[in-house]
């Protein structure tokens, strides 16, 4: 550490999610990443050594590191999204570790919602299974910018290149039908450590990067929409103090694009325009701000603006769509099935309103990737395309263009539970 200018503090943040079926070795892979990047401390290691012995294992079970809750340790499976952290000199990583069983689609969707990258594990012995198709589909539905297919347990198939190539071409067959941009393939053994952090000595035929190299070097600068300025107003800051009698700042996080002092912005839904007077972040006065910063923006004109409104800039003709009728890909999360024609609370950016489910167009068969227009009963973990009608205009961008302004959740008005996640088409 030679000081703040040393660059030591200048690490990027990368969020990724992991998906795999039971026994694909996902927890072992995460354990391996944490272990080889030295994110595991001695006391944690001691605790898992003890636990490994207790559960009858011979070797230290790296998977135990990630199994957080009592019930999971007893059953030996991961049942909820857990977050893990590690860092290398280049990047800080946040892992959303999600379970892979059929009934837990909602967990993968949750973990995927904020991810820059998805690691999808395929067991080299079993090849591409239904689950692989499901995980790839969800990654594409949630528009995760980078997908890394890790063909795991290569040690159990004698590190054969043709096994890897077959799986690669099978996944390509799936991904070609989906909207995924960047797919990479790495043959690994999480247990032994081949191609995870260190290059494998057992697979000379593989010339690509290790998993860690990919994680450290994927270009994530363009993962966020940099073109269209959108800032939902979260909170209006009015000190009304002696020093700041007239300060009126709109507090919010910039969801996409950038903003300069002097720019003309439009306020939705009113449609009024004004110029940016100041951009503040605590005592710093900024000339420009960009996603994903949280700032306070003052405008030149006195306009009535409150939470739920959005400041936007029109760039290249892109403005949010304003409508009360939207088409949404919905993932149902709740044990109580969806009520056709039912009313729910809808939350999108900082806006909240009621909505009605007007119709279900089709259910997605996530194993065959076919649309089923006949079975329209929506149960937990189903993914469906629906038409929603909102009580007041919603301003949004299509999810494919903007993950932050094109996403929504539905809340049950009686139980207050978050029952569905939606991506606006």
């Amino acid at each position: 550490m030679s000081g703040k200018e040393s660059g030591y503090l200048d690490m990027e943040l990368l969020r990724f999610t992991t998906a795999g079926s039971v026994d694909d070795g996902k927890s072992t892979l995460i354990g391996r990443l944490l272990f080889d990047s030295k994110a595991i401390f001695e006391d944690q290691m001691e605790a898992i050594e003890k636990a490994s012995l207790r559960s009858g294992g011979e070797d230290v079970n790296l998977a135990l590191l990630t199994d957080g809750l009592k019930a999971e340790r007893e059953q030996g499976i991961t049942i909820d999204v857990a977050y893990r952290y590690f860092a290398t000199p280049k990047r800080k990583f946040i892992i959303a570790d999600t379970p892979g069983h059929i009934q837990y689609t909602r967990n993968m969707v949750t973990g995927a919602s904020t991810a820059n990258a998805a690691i999808i594990l395929v067991d080299a012995r079993h090849g591409v299974l239904e689950q692989t198709r499901r995980h790839t589909y969800i990654a594409s539905l949630l528009q995760i910018p980078h997908i890394i297919i890790c063909v795991n347990k290569m040690d159990l198939v004698e590190y054969k290149q043709d096994v890897f190539e077959q799986i690669k071409s099978d996944v390509e067959g799936i991904s070609s039908k989906l909207s995924v941009k960047d797919v990479r393939y790495v043959p690994i053994s999480a247990l032994v450590g081949d191609n995870v952090v260190d290059r494998s000595k057992n697979m000379d035929w593989y010339e690509g990067p290790t998993l860690m190299y990919l994680l450290e070097n994927l270009h994530i600068g363009s993962d966020i929409n940099r073109d269209d300025f959108r800032m939902p107003v979260q909170y209006v800051i009015r000190p009304q103090s002696k020093d700041y009698p007239d300060y009126r700042g709109y507090g919010g996080r910039i969801m996409s694009g950038s903003l300069n002092v002097g720019d003309t912005v439009k306020v939705l839904p009113s449609g009024f325009t004004s110029k940016v007077k100041t951009i503040d972040l605590f005592t710093e006065t900024l000339q420009k701000a960009f996603a994903p910063q949280s700032v306070s923006v003052q405008l030149e004109d006195d306009i009535d603006i409150s939470r739920g409104d959005m400041l936007v800039k029109e760039t290249n003709g892109h403005e949010p769509v304003v409508s009360q009728d939207i088409d949404v890909m919905l993932c149902w999360f709740n044990e109580r099935k969806m009520i056709p024609g039912g009313k729910y609370t809808l939350r999108q950016t900082s806006a909240e309103m009621r909505c009605m489910i007007k119709s279900v167009d089709y259910k997605m068969n996530i194993n065959t990737l076919e649309h089923d227009p006949d079975d329209l009963e929506v149960n937990m973990n189903d993914i469906v395309r629906v038409k929603l009608r909102t009580t007041k205009p919603l301003f949004y961008d299509s999810y494919n263009v903007n993950r932050n302004t094109g996403s929504l959740v539905l809340i049950d008005e009686t139980t207050n539970e978050t029952v569905a996640a939606g991506m606006i088409v």
């Binding site: 503090l9 909820d80 977050y83 967990n107 910063q293």
Partner: protein, 301 residues
């Protein structure tokens, strides 16, 4: 990084500010828990950033076990005076005096468990509907599955198997009467992030975090500070050593580490090199493998 990217600390900061503003907007009567430890100091700093130039629009609350390092209390009072914030203090001693809890006895006695009762009482009395805490997911494995917005039933309990899904930037703070939320704005920070951020932002800390001479003794491999209410077991003896705190909690269960680090750079280097998690020095987590999960279910911080 190009000029339209921010470093990991700035991104974590932006996320935390977003969460804190969301709390202020979604709840009627939120409170921010403050212990005088570095995590709550950082969280309060983020709250000041979130609302500047206005004051933080909610009070802070300190659950005082009575077993504090005096430096912590001094620091707390100075900070409140400097920033004009309001801090409500609730005493575990009052809970005991009112007969709502019985003090543990013996050499390992700690008020750690009782403070949950004091906390839940205070939330009920003051009608707080959201309590922000400085918990981080990297601290302990039960915390790894905690949401930013964590729903608590009318008994203040956490149900880890029935948590609301949390996606994108969309936080659901809806609840019924009598229920409340715990919110963890710095969920995604690690110990290293906290230290680097303190360094980057030049945040003032209690002197306990830096090296000083103190009378200490060893218990179960952990160095503990001498304090009036600490009983020594047979065979334990006091020594004067150069120590500093890695975490600041109740004196009865917070270990200190031997260190000569007297500035933030040295501490960051020490954290980078350390092979024991910061909670490794906390007796409260060592009671059983699922100690933290059990306490959290009951309504612990």
């Amino acid at each position: 990084m190009d000029k339209y990217q921010i470093n990991h600390l700035k991104e974590l900061e932006a996320e935390s500010i977003f969460v804190i503003r969301e709390v202020a907007a979604q709840f009627e009567n939120p409170v921010m828990l403050f212990s005088g430890g570095k995590d709550s100091i950082v969280m309060f700093h983020l709250a000041r950033k979130a609302f500047w130039p206005a004051k933080v629009p909610f009070p802070l609350m300190h659950i005082d076990t009575g077993h504090n390092f005096p430096e912590t209390i001094q620091y707390r009072d100075d900070l409140m005076e400097k920033t004009g914030a309001r801090c409500i203090v609730k005493y575990v001693q009052d809970t005991i005096d009112q007969g709502k809890a019985v003090e543990e006895t013996g050499v390992n006695a700690s008020r750690n468990k009782i403070q949950t009762i004091t906390l839940l009482d205070a939330i009920e009395q003051e009608k707080f509907d959201a309590a922000m805490g400085g918990g981080r997911r990297d601290e302990e494995k039960a915390r790894a599955k905690e949401r930013f917005f964590s729903h608590r039933d009318e008994f203040g309990q956490w149900d880890p198997k029935n948590q609301r899904p949390e996606l994108w930037n969309l936080f659901n703070g809806k609840k019924n009467m009598g229920e409340h939320f715990r919110v963890f704005p710095i969920s995604n920070w690690t110990e290293m992030d906290v230290w680097q951020y303190i360094y980057m932002e030049e945040i003032e800390l209690p002197s306990l975090y830096f090296t000083h001479k103190r009378e200490v003794f060893q218990r179960d491999g952990v160095w503990m500070a001498k304090a009036p209410f600490m009983q020594l077991k047979e065979g334990e003896k006091l020594e004067m050593r150069d120590v500093r705190c890695r975490t600041i909690g109740d004196v009865t269960c917070t270990g200190v580490s031997l260190s000569t680090a007297n500035n933030l750079q040295d501490i960051i280097q020490e954290v980078a090199a350390t092979r024991v998690t910061e909670r490794g020095g906390r007796a409260d987590d060592k009671r059983s493998e699922s100690a933290m999960e059990d306490r959290k279910r009951e309504g612990y911080f």
